[in-house]
């Protein structure tokens, strides 16, 4: 039996069902401080099911810290985070991944000396069952599991557009664009319902960024994913996001639709500085 439900869980979620009401993730009053430095201050934040939401803000606004709090790498100093009706405040990172949140990193953090495929296999860790004894004795169900995750790993790499000939190439030898792709495939491998992308278009040219924007929409529509994005490229943000949250100095200064946020005076000030000194 063990093998079967692993397959069931590894399959892409059933998208035909309607979009559930309400929010997939709800953060209330989340703060994070390091010693005296308040990196995130009392942020309320919600992501509706199957939406694409962006967090923007100047450098050092606390965006990545907020990501790290959501994914359990940091314990929030205050506040509460609820994912899909479950309190995940201060839960362990691997538990959060198992529950269905996956992420990529601002500076690509692939396992550099593992192959592209192996990276994606690690991404499936929470969806596998083989333990110490199973790994050594390798009974038929482990052999089957191993074969399935490898197949699925190759499918995912193909899905993100990696060429077959580099599947077994070590991650460190891949081109920058391919590394970004593998990182997304690795995140998708854990079968997330919420995908957090930390500046995915950093270092990409406009064409590549546009392709990625399109890909994010495909992910949402095909796989029923909800996507939270940290992004600097305003083109991408404005095109893709249904909702934008602006952080500055760790505080939420604005939230809403793209056109509203763009006109918000506080946002302009945060990016360009206050006017009227001279």
């Amino acid at each position: 039996m063990s093998g079967e439900d692993a397959v069931a869980r590894a399959a892409p979620p059933d998208v035909s069902a309607g979009v559930p009401d309400g929010d997939i993730l709800e953060a209330t009053g989340v703060s994070k401080s390091f010693g005296g430095l308040v990196a995130v201050n009392d942020v309320d934040f919600a992501i509706p099911h199957r939406s694409i939401v962006s967090i923007i803000g100047p450098n050092g606004a606390g965006k990545t810290t907020f990501f790290n709090v959501l994914t359990g790498l940091y314990k929030p100093s205050a506040g509460r985070i609820v994912f899909d009706g479950r309190d995940i405040t201060a839960e362990r990172p691997d538990k959060i991944t198992a529950l269905g949140i996956a992420r990529t990193f601002q500076n690509i953090r692939l396992f550099a000396t593992m192959s592209a495929l192996e990276n994606v296999l690690v991404g499936q860790h929470t969806r596998m069952r083989a333990g110490l004894i199973g790994s050594i004795l390798r009974p038929p169900w482990v052999v089957g599991e191993e074969r399935r995750v490898r197949e699925r790993g190759r499918d995912l790499l193909a899905y993100v557009g990696l060429e077959l000939r580099v599947f077994d190439e070590l991650a460190v030898n891949l081109s920058y664009g391919d590394q970004r792709r593998v990182e997304i495939a690795r995140a998708l491998a854990s079968d997330p319902r919420l995908l957090l992308l930390d500046e995915p278009t950093a270092g990409m040219n406009p064409q590549e960024s546009a392709a990625l924007t399109e890909f994010m929409e495909t992910l949402r529509d095909d796989r029923g994913l909800t996507i939270l994005l940290i992004e600097h490229d305003m083109q991408v943000v404005m095109n893709v996001s249904e909702q934008i949250t602006v952080l500055d100095h760790g505080e939420k200064i604005s939230e809403g639709l793209a056109q509203d946020v763009r006109r918000d005076r506080r946002v302009v000030e945060a990016y360009l500085g206050t006017q009227g000194e001279d």
């Binding site: 691997d94 953090r109 000396t113 070590l170």
Partner: protein, 385 residues
Amino acid sequence: MRRLQAVRQSRRANRIVAVLAIGVAALVPFFFAPLSTFMNNAVLALAYVVMALGLNIVVGFAGLLDLGYVAFYAFGSYTVGWLASDFFAYINGGRGMHILGPKLLSSPAGIHVNFLLIMVAAIVICAVVGALIGLPTLRLRGDYIAIVTLAFGEIIRVFAFFGDDIHLGKHYLLTNGRQAISPVDQIDLPFLPQFDSAFSLRPYYWFALAMVALVLFINFRLRDSRLGRAWIAIREDEVAAASMGVPLVKTKLLAYATGGALGGMAGAFLGAYYNSVNANQFQFGFSIFILAMIILGGLGSIWGVVIGAVALSFINTYVIPSLNDVPDQFGLDFDLTTLSFGIFGFLIVLMMVLRPEGLLPERRRRLELTEGMGAGDEQLFEVRA
């Protein structure tokens, strides 16, 4: 798909190499006298291979620098010392306690358990102990792990050393300290005549070789498994590994426990082979000796570690003693063997300069060293275990 085939082929090649190597090694005893020095050294070399492959799981795969590995040697040896000698002489009113024990005993008093059961006990004890020493290191990284494990190894040594002052009840001591628990029962396996190291070392050699085969098998299986990938992921980038769903605590503890269990297995064997368990065997230098083997061979590379262990153990038993009178020729009055750890240190330095990736490097390690890739550059300062 060609690459996939290449991977499959390399696996098959690996299997062929393993079978051939072990087959050839199994024939070696026929070319040497059953009690020759070479046989003795070869048995030791094989036991060290088992230890090195165990440590390779902790240091090579999971990247947790362990400087207290000698502790598992000690626990394994004391398991056999306690359970296969007359050390607990008063047990059962002096008549002894025998559980499928060997046929020929020096003394019927004490506990005498079948060696295979002792092996299981040593594996279980060392796995638990391995996990326990893992616990305090979970929040630490790199060098700090090394310091904690080093201290752990020393604590165990001191307990072994002064164990003859630690009384358990009226009659019993913890260890015999420097006086050694001796004699320890010779190995007696079902369906085979009892081993007798006074008569022939061959059975011990084959037994050690069987252990090497088993441990090689375990190493290869683990490396290409969910757990092995998780270990390497942790070695490469702990933060990313945790974010991808690898439970750090459990995965690291499993590495310590597995490494410890294999060390304990070799320890129990050595206890039986030496016929005695002496606190002096469990010096810090032994941890370095084993660590040097895996560095010499290539961290994480299974075949490299085997080669490194055999090479270093023969350097230790042949090369250094054969140069023993060199200082004398220069008018210096000391034994070269007293400098053996200095010589190992020198070899490691030489290795680091000439070939830092080891004699037979693992593909990944070579990259980490030559291209400066790999683990933990910039760290999130609060990643929780």
